[in-house]
């Protein structure tokens, strides 16, 4: 028996709907606190977790960027989220940018320093946790976001 055109159409829409609903990541909880800022840079202490120390450091660095992008950092000059508070929507809208930013480790070019405050500690499930002092070049980061049309340039 041949499938009816309506069935095919329905299946197509179902596939499109399923694809549009995928890739929604649950935001990770980030423990990021402001330390200092000077001439377009912000230094913050971020906590990250991972399988080993390297992975935990990378997680802390990513958490620092996520907080700057989607939450803002109280007490700093970037109190307001650099991009917006709806991270799921923003990440979907600029998927290519964020893929390059995190997966291709482009974020490292905006990191001025990343210094662990001590050795990683063991946490539940065999993972490691570490606190890292992360210094980010916010001026360059903002320019990059503007050039890639993730945020609007200053003005109308």
């Amino acid at each position: 028996m041949q499938p009816k055109p309506t069935k095919i159409l329905f299946s197509l829409f179902a596939i499109i709907f399923l694809f549009s609903c995928s890739n929604k990541s649950i935001p990770s909880s980030a423990k990021v606190n402001y330390l200092t800022s000077r001439d377009g840079t912000i230094t913050m202490r971020a906590i990250g977790t991972g399988e080993n120390q390297q992975a935990a450091i990378a997680d802390a660095e990513k958490n620092a960027f996520e907080v700057l992008f989607f939450r803002g950092l109280p007490e700093s000059e970037q109190k307001i989220a650099l991009i917006g508070t709806n991270e799921i929507e923003e990440k979907q809208k600029h998927q290519t940018y964020f893929d390059k930013f995190y997966k291709d480790q482009r974020y490292k070019t905006f990191l001025m320093s990343s210094i662990p405050t001590g050795n990683a500690t063991n946490i539940k499930g065999g993972s490691k946790s570490i606190a890292v002092d992360v210094k980010i070049n916010v001026t360059a980061l903002r320019k990059d976001l503007e050039q890639n049309n993730v945020i609007r340039k200053f003005g109308y």
Partner: protein
């Protein structure tokens, strides 16, 4: 080939055609969207921003700036903040000098001189910087009050207070610089939020509709094809034409109707070109002509004056 097989083949062909059509429509739509973005490459006209010093009543704005280096440093540092975001401001001191050279100023009070410069510069937004220095036994400090307003409507765009902190120094210029650094980034971030709101919800204009001294019309005059009172005709038009139906009437009397906040788009919805109060005034003008009235229009910044003869 049997009749049944032929029927199946026809159905299969139909399905294929439907799928191809769906794909074709999707492809055309995406191409159209791409073309739209390519053709809509119109540079948005940016607001003109001028940083000005705050002056108390009776203070001479010219001598204040010439004598007080810390105020000049504060203004320069604020402009530096705008430059850092890739935005060019109108230079207040240059305008002041030009105005002085052209003998623009009248002999009225100093506050009027500031107003005259703002009007002469054509600035849409002005940022006012109030610098106050304090020297005590425990150290010296500078406090900066930064406020940004829309020149025509007076809508506040951003407000911040910056502190230099206390230091044992007489270098008030450096302290002023520190006070600016402490708040300028945040100040600009808040301004940008307001600009985003303007992009999304339209620019605010004021519309003042009045009658010529010799006019025989009033706001209650029943005119147009449907013989409705003029004030209602105006409001119905505004309802349709204000951006996202966003308008506010300050008040209506027999001889005047003032809209203190009517939002107009930054880009013309019809062709994507830049839109401004002048174009909106022309639409209002056409509307009045359309209902058989003889209007005159006058535009000053973001305020539209319509006078009905």
């Amino acid at each position: 080939m049997s009749l049944e097989n032929l029927d199946i083949k026809t159905k299969q062909m139909k399905n294929k055609i439907i799928i191809i059509l769906i794909l074709l429509i999707a492809s055309i739509k995406s191409q159209y969207a791409l073309c739209q973005t390519q053709t809509n490459q119109v540079n948005t006209v940016q607001p003109k921003i001028m940083v000005i010093p705050y002056t108390k009543e009776g203070e001479d704005i010219r001598t204040i700036l010439e004598q007080d280096v810390s105020r000049r440093i504060a203004i320069t540092k604020i402009k530096e903040g705008f430059d850092g975001r890739g935005f060019t401001t109108v230079d207040f001191t240059a305008k002041l000098k030009a105005a002085k050279d052209n003998n623009v100023f009248t002999t009225e009070s100093q506050t009027d001189i500031k107003t005259q410069i703002i009007q002469m510069s054509g600035a849409d937004v002005y940022v006012q910087a109030e610098v106050s220095s304090l020297k005590t036994e425990t150290g010296s400090s500078v406090t900066l009050v930064l406020t940004a307003y829309e020149a025509s409507t007076g809508n506040s765009l951003s407000n911040k207070v910056g502190e230099s902190g206390k230091f044992y120094t007489d270098d008030f210029g450096k302290l002023a610089s520190k006070a600016v650094e402490s708040c300028v980034a945040d100040f600009l971030n808040v301004m940008q939020i307001k600009f985003t709101d303007i992009v999304n919800n339209g620019k605010s204009v004021i519309i003042d509709i009045s009658f010529d001294a010799n006019s025989t019309y009033k706001m209650s005059s029943e005119i147009g094809a449907d013989k409705l009172p003029l004030s209602d005709q105006i409001e119905m038009w505004m309802e349709k034409n204000a951006f996202k139906n966003n308008y506010h009437i300050q008040g209506t009397t027999a001889l005047k109707m003032i809209f203190d906040d009517v939002r107009i788009p930054l880009k013309d919805p019809a062709n994507g070109n830049n839109y401004n109060p002048n174009k909106f005034a022309l639409e209002i003008f056409k509307f009045f002509k359309g209902i058989g009235l003889q209007p005159t229009k006058d535009i000053k910044g973001s305020t539209i004056f319509i006078t009905i003869k």
